[in-house]
Amino acid sequence: MARKILIIDDEEDIREVAALSLETVAGWDVLVAGSGAAGIAKARENRPDAILLDVMMPGMDGPTTFRELRAIPETSGIPVILLTAKVQAADQKRFSDLGVASVMFKPFDPLILAREIAQVLGWQEA
């Protein structure tokens, strides 16, 4: 069965390119959400195998969304990868300290995004 990935990002371009990449290159099923609140709802309903979560979003930002996901029993075990534009080392440490599976950076290469996700999550495919 194909992996199911949820992308939470307020930027439509990023959602679309990431979804295109993961569907086309890896054959994964992709769900998208444009806000932290919508993402939490989709995660509860669909139980994806992993979540790609933007850091800087209006309203509920990525770290807040992550903490909410961890507090919900149905979503607490889903690995979350934070996706952010290039940041300073201090920010990267702050994000890593949250307990996310990994921190990945924009801009990403659409041709290798799936491979990078699979690698950090220890998945064999892609």
Binding site: V17, K86, Q88, K106, F108, P110
Partner: protein, 112 residues
């Protein structure tokens, strides 16, 4: 990976570049507006925040469309605007130069 997957992604990216250009140009306008406001008042924190947000968004997206230099320039702008230090005249001059360079990078790709 098959050539077909790479071609499909490249083709869709070219389409997306066209639909994304207005948003990218809006962000450039936000950067210009912030730079002008900061030139008038280097302590204008609201202008600084608006400029930083626009730079952050540009840095995340331009490289995806094959403009890594654009992402680097936007990232450098974001760092300058994010710094807690007051902006010096030399910082303002650098901002202006980098924004102009970013304009040129985007213009060189548009329209595709």
């Amino acid at each position: 990976m098959s050539g077909t997957a790479a071609e499909k992604i490249a083709s869709r990216l070219a389409e997306l570049w066209q639909t994304s250009r207005p948003t990218i140009l809006e962000r450039m306008l936000a950067l210009h507006t912030a730079e002008e406001a900061l030139a008038a008042n280097p302590l204008d924190q609201e202008a600084r925040d608006r400029g930083r947000e626009a730079a952050h968004k540009l840095s995340g997206v331009l490289g995806i469309f094959g403009l890594p230099q654009g992402s680097e320039l936007a990232s450098a702008l974001e760092e300058t605007l994010k710094s807690p230090e007051p902006l010096l005249p030399s910082d303002l001059a650098t901002l202006k130069t980098r924004i102009a360079e970013l304009d040129a990078v985007i213009a060189a790709k548009s329209p595709q």
